[in-house]
């Protein structure tokens, strides 16, 4: 179920150019806020743009932002977490301090600060999300690495003469990556929501680039005129969140060694 939704999302993002029925940027002020019709499947927005096409293109942004941000934070968290867990004590202390400092900052406040500093754009959003979520992954990896470091099999590897690089990548990584991938797939909808949230606040992707957040924002703004914008912006968000959450749960089941033991 989750897999199907995610696949549909990926297809729609990749094939946005073919799937969209209109130019998502083209305005027709006189055609504003139309109800869904054969011409405009999800109606039009306050500037007369085709909402369906904007939703499709918005999915591309959502996916691009979330996949990039999640994979970057995953890699960053993995490296920093393993460094903290396996490296010298002072480095661990330092990294934990940094992780805590970043985590203690509410993401939105942090995003506000970064956006003020760098200006709203896709790279800014990705940077914000990456910086804000590296500690999430980093902490998990660190804890796992720390506990792995003391396990007998790691000691056994060391006793055989294995160096730190080999131990980290050949033995600790495979044990850490599973839960991390699950977390990542669960994080994707969170990231999409953050992106949408920032766009909703006007701090995200710049208009007129369509994103679900900005469609939702428009919808909110004109909810008293037409309900379709909110539905069009909100529904894909809900579905995607569901999809990735289901996928994450499926992944968790797949990765759980207790369930595929025999």
């Amino acid at each position: 179920m989750g897999f199907i939704i995610v696949v549909l999302l990926v297809i729609s993002a990749l094939g946005a150019d073919f799937l969209a029925t209109h130019d998502p940027f083209r305005m027709a002020p006189r055609q504003r806020m139309l109800d869904p019709s054969a011409e405009h499947w999800l109606g039009t927005d306050q500037l007369g743009r085709d909402v369906y096409s904007r939703v499709i293109y918005g999915g591309r942004i959502a996916l691009w932002v979330s996949l990039t941000a999640v994979s970057l934070s995953l890699i960053g968290g993995l490296i920093l977490g393993m460094l903290a867990g396996y490296g010298p004590r002072w480095l661990d202390n330092l990294l934990v301090l940094v992780f805590d400092a970043v985590r203690s900052f509410p993401t939105i406040m942090f995003a506000l600060a970064m956006v003020t500093l760098l200006g709203p754009s896709i790279p800014t959003i990705i940077t914000v999300i990456v910086v804000a979520s590296i500690p999430v992954y980093g902490r998990i990896v660190r804890i796992q690495t720390l506990s792995m470091k003391e396990t007998e099999f790691v000691l056994a590897e060391r006793a055989l003469g294995a160096g730190p690089v080999r131990i980290l990548f050949s033995h600790i990584l495979p044990n850490v990556i599973g839960p991390l991938l699950i977390l990542a797939s669960m994080e994707i909808p969170v990231v999409i929501t953050i992106e949408a949230g920032l766009s909703f606040l006007g701090l995200g992707v710049r208009p007129p680039t369509p994103t679900w957040g900005s469609i939702l924002q428009d919808g909110y703004q004109y909810i008293r005129d037409t309900p379709w914008l909110v539905i069009a912006g909100g529904l894909p968000l809900i579905l995607t969140t569901l999809g990735f959450t289901f996928l994450g749960e499926a992944l968790r089941d797949a990765f759980d060694p207790k369930l595929n033991r025999h």
């Binding site: 006189r30 306050q46 500037l47 709203p120 754009s121 006007g202 208009p207 007129p208 909810i223």
Partner: protein, 521 residues
């Protein structure tokens, strides 16, 4: 709109005559079922009610309720004023205004009688350049206030200053502050505590981000206000405000333009819609000192290329009409038409090519983070795309946008285009003040600098001849347009919806609320 009567002659006439309205004793409004309460929406948090530092109409509404000026704007269809603290205000010469004050009007809190000392204190503190107050231009021509008696004095100007009667004395900068109260408490900048009251209301509750409750000032000797309490409820979001209105939580609220179109089709029950042309002005500005817009041909290309009607249609839902400058119809200096009236894409492309941008370029368009601005920006971007200019929309909080555009370190270079709305007082100098060379780094985001413009702005405030003023301000707007840095968009409208049980008292542009004159209908 009945604005033709608003001439210098009328002013002088009114000034010489007695302020009749203010002296008529009020008819008692009997409170039914307890207190009579008026609930109005406040669309931003209150930061200061100091006249020298006020930020917008909302602070202005509160200020005028807790204090009085010598004279005050009168609610109604046309811009007129009446006497408040003054019994007489006479412009004896172009630089000399004599006033007599009522006797026995007391400050609350035991700070004694309101005297000419207070007047002198209040006006000179704004005029004093050392205080660097935001509204110092209102009193920039003030020489001094001479005290001739406890209740009389003379305002001496360095040069004739026509905006005095329109946007200084009857407006916020003309309010009289409690000198003794401020000095005894060592306060130089008032935040949200008026210290002592002279107006019809006093503050009962002040929660700047939530709710301001005004109650009757027991010391108020003027006409008794019909409402016992004014609840000024902070609702930042327009949608929420509309819902609150429909739910009965508000008796009135200003509306975004999008709602006007909808309400015109379908009004809520027992409500009235007020739509008045605004004095404010919107324009598309080009920062002309750096980047592609340094070249006047590029700026002209934008002037020719932008389909203003389309932008207005998109962003203002067809409710607002195109403006011809920064001075609204009915005011001195209003320009009958723009120099470039119709878009000419071919010419725009030609100009761009000549400037070395045959394929256009990328730039940013900065706007405030609210729906009208973002819509306008998107519409502008769409229109400019037709001539090859790719404009990315950047949204800001008001403060952030000014901080960037006014940055001394050169950050202003980041922004090529911006769409701005400035609010306006009924004197043309109030519009031109922000575009002088001196304002570069402050509000002059286009970094427009024209010696003739600067000179005209200086001289016209002292110009007594109304016709010369009119011509001068038109010329100034011509200069602005000729610089290429401006595309004038609209004045917009002010719209509000109120219960039909309330008879509101509003300024002619429906912007300001005069709560003590509101009546149950």
């Amino acid at each position: 709109m009945a604005f033709d009567a608003f001439s210098r002659r009328n002013f002088l006439k009114t000034a010489a005559g007695a302020g009749l309205v203010a002296t008529i004793p009020g008819t008692e409004v009997v409170a039914q079922g307890g207190l009579k309460i008026l609930k109005s929406r406040c669309d931003q948090a209150i930061e200061t009610i100091d006249p020298g530092w006020r930020l917008g109409t909302v602070d202005d509404n509160i200020m005028r309720s807790v204090w009085q000026g010598l004279i005050s704007v009168v609610p109604g269809e046309s811009w007129n004023w009446e006497k408040q603290l003054a019994t007489e205000v006479v412009q004896e010469t172009p630089t000399r205004i004599r006033f007599e004050m009522k006797k026995g009007v007391m400050w609350s809190g035991g700070f004694g009688e309101i005297t000419a000392e207070d007047v002198k204190f209040s006006y000179e503190r704004i005029a004093n350049p050392d205080n660097k107050m935001a509204y110092r231009t209102d009193w920039e021509k003030l020489d001094r206030v001479e005290i001739t008696g406890t209740h009389s004095g003379i305002i001496h100007l360095k040069a004739p200053f026509m905006p005095l009667w329109l946007s200084t004395l009857p407006a916020g900068s003309g309010l009289v502050l409690p000198k003794k109260a401020m000095e005894s408490k060592g306060i130089t900048k008032i935040t949200t505590d008026p210290l002592a009251y002279s107006g019809p209301y006093r503050i009962k509750t002040m929660e700047p981000r939530r709710l301001i409750v005004l109650e009757r000032n027991p010391d108020w000797k003027g006409e008794r206000p019909a409402y016992d309490e004014i609840h000024y409820i902070v609702v930042l979001d327009a949608n929420a405000a509309e819902i609150a209105y429909e739910a009965g939580e508000l008796d009135m609220t200003h509306l975004p333009i999008a709602s006007v179109a909808r309400l015109q089709k379908k009004m809520p029950a027992k409500s009235k819609l007020v739509v008045k042309p605004s004095l404010a002005y919107w324009w598309l500005g080009m920062q002309m000192e750096d980047g592609p817009f340094k070249d006047i041909r590029v700026r002209q290309a934008v002037q020719y290329g932008l389909d203003v009607d389309m932008v207005l249609d998109a962003a203002f839902f067809g409710v607002a009409t195109r403006s011809t400058g920064i001075i609204a119809p009915g005011l001195i200096g209003h320009r009958p038409k723009n120099q470039i009236e119709k878009p000419d894409v071919a010419k725009a492309k030609q100009l761009l090519a000549a400037a070395g941008f045959p394929n256009g370029f990328k730039t940013d368009i900065g706007v405030r983070n609210s729906a009208e601005f973002v819509n306008a920006a998107q519409a502008v971007a769409a229109s400019l795309a037709n001539i090859g200019i790719q404009a990315d929309v950047r949204t800001f909080d008001t403060g952030a946008q000014k901080a960037l555009a006014g940055d001394k370190g050169g950050k202003w270079k980041e922004m090529g285009l911006h769409i701005v709305r400035f609010s306006m007082q009924p004197d043309p100098s109030w519009a031109t003040a922000w575009f002088v060379t001196e304002q570069i780094g402050e509000w002059n985001w286009e970094r427009f600098s024209n010696p003739e413009f600067d000179k005209l702005h200086q001289s016209l405030t002292s110009e007594l001849d109304e016709k010369k003023r009119d011509e001068g301000y038109r010329r100034m707007q011509d200069l602005m347009e000729a610089s290429g840095a401006y595309v004038f968009l609209t004045h917009g409208v002010n719209a509000l919806v109120h219960r039909d049980t309330v008879a509101p008292a509003l300024s002619p542009d429906a912007q300001r609320q005069f709560w003590n004159r509101f009546k149950p209908a």
